[in-house]
Symmetry: C2
Subunit: 231 residues, 2 copies
C-alpha cells in the first residue's frame, strides 16, 4: 500500500514531537519531582529514572530505529545496521528503566507486578527482545536463507509495529497510573503538574502515531531500495 | 502490502476475543460491581454502564465494522452498508457510554475531564464522528467525485485505524484508572477482581490487535473487490 505522502514528512514531524516529549518528561521528573538518582534516600528519585529511560529509550530511540529504515537516504545495509543499533540501545535503556521501577518498589516496600502497566511492560520488553534477536539472527548475522527472509520480513514488520504500539499505549498507561497515585495523595487534578503529565502522554501518543504513519507511507528510494517491500 | 495470511483467519480469532471481552466486562460490572442502571441511588451502577457500552459499542461493534469490510464475501456496496451501520451503532453506544460517565460524575460530585482517559476519550469520539460523517458523505451519499474517493480512501483507512487503536488504548487506560481507584479504596491488588479487570484489558488489546491484523492481511476476493485497494 503506502499512503501518498513521503515518509520523510511524517518523520520530520515525529522529530519535533519526540524532542518535546523528552523535554516534558525531564521537566516533570527534575523540576516537579526532585530529580534523578540511582541511589538515594528519597526513593522517588529512583522511580523518576523509569519514565525518563523508557521514554528516551524504548519510545523515542525505538521509534527512530523504526523510522530510519524508512527515511534515511542510505543503502540497505547501512540502514539495517542503524536500525539494529538504535533498537539495541532502546532495548537496553528499556531494561534498565524497568529495573529502576523494580528497584524503587523493592526499596520502598511497594508490591511488584500487580498492575496492568507492569504486566504489559514485561510482555512488551520480552517481545521486543525476541524481535531484536530474531532480526539479528535472520537479517544480519549469520542470516537466514533468502526464503526465510522473504517470508518472515512482513511478520517482523507487523510484530514490530504491534510491540511498538503496545509500548506507546503502555507509556500512556504508566503516566496515567503515576498521576492517579499522585492525585490520590493530594496533587491538584487541574494543576500545572497534572496538565504537564497528561500532555506528555498525548505528545508521546502523537509521536507514536507519526512513527507508524512513517512506516505506512512512501519510502525514500535509493538504488537497491525496492528490495525492501514489506509494507 | 497485505501479509500472507487470509484476513478471515485473523477475524475468526477476533470473534472469540471480542465475545470473551464482553463476557468479562459483564461479569465484572454485574457480579463484582452490583449491576447496571441508568437511574439508581447507588451511583456506581450508573458508572458501570460506561465500560459495558464502550466495550460492546465502540470497541467490539466498531471492530466488527472495520473487519466486515475486509472479510465478508459480499459485494462492495453491501459491505459498505454494513460498515456504515455497524460504525453508526458503535458511535451511538460510545456517545451514550460517555454520557453515562458524565452522569455518574455529576450525580456523585466527582470532577469531570481532568484525566488523560477522559481527554483522549473526547478526542476519540469526536474523530470517530468526523470519520463517520466524512465516510457517509463521500463514500455513501451523496458521494464525492471518483477522484476525491480515490485520493481520500487511504486516509480514511489510516485515520480509522489510528482512531481505533487510540480507542483500544484508551479502554485499557480506563480499566487501569478505575482499578487503581478501587485498589486505593482497599481492593486487593492480587485478588480475583483485580485479575479479572486486568485480563479484560489484555483481551481487549488482543482483540484490537487482531482487528488491525485483519485490515493488514489478504482480503477475501469477490468479483468487484479489486476496486478496494486502500491497503
Amino acid at each position: 500500500m503506502a499512503i501518498a505522502v513521503k515518509a520523510v514528512s511524517f518523520a520530520l514531524v515525529a522529530q519535533v514531537l519526540g524532542i518535546a516529549a523528552i523535554v516534558m518528561v525531564l521537566i516533570w521528573t527534575i523540576s516537579f519531582r526532585g530529580g534523578l538518582a540511582w541511589e538515594a534516600s528519597n526513593k522517588n528519585l529512583i522511580f523518576n529514572l523509569h519514565p525518563v529511560l523508557i521514554l528516551i529509550g524504548l519510545i523515542v530511540l525505538g521509534g527512530e530505529g523504526i523510522m530510519t529504515y524508512k527515511v534515511l537516504p542510505l543503502r540497505k545495509e547501512a540502514k539495517k545496521l542503524i536500525h539494529l543499533v538504535l533498537n539495541a540501545i532502546a532495548l537496553i535503556l528499556g531494561v534498565i528503566g524497568i529495573y529502576a521501577a523494580f528497584k524503587y518498589h523493592n526499596e520502598s516496600n511497594i508490591p511488584n507486578l500487580y498492575s496492568l502497566h507492569s504486566w504489559l511492560g514485561i510482555g512488551i520488553i520480552v517481545l521486543f527482545g525476541i524481535q531484536w534477536i530474531y532480526g539479528f539472527l535472520v537479517f544480519f548475522y549469520p542470516g537466514g536463507t533468502s526464503e526465510i527472509r522473504r517470508e518472515s520480513l512482513p511478520w517482523h514488520v507487523l510484530l514490530g509495529m504491534f510491540v511498538y504500539i503496545l509500548a506507546i499505549a503502555n507509556a500512556a498507561l504508566g503516566l496515567l497510573e503515576k498521576l492517579t497515585f499522585l492525585e490520590n495523595g493530594g496533587l491538584g487534578k487541574y494543576g500545572a503538574e497534572a496538565f504537564l503529565v497528561n500532555f506528555t502522554a498525548i505528545i508521546t501518543v502523537l509521536f507514536g502515531a507519526f512513527v507508524i504513519f512513517t512506516v505506512l507511507s512512501e519510502p525514500v528510494t535509493v538504488e537497491d531500495d525496492y528490495s525492501y517491500s514489506a509494507i
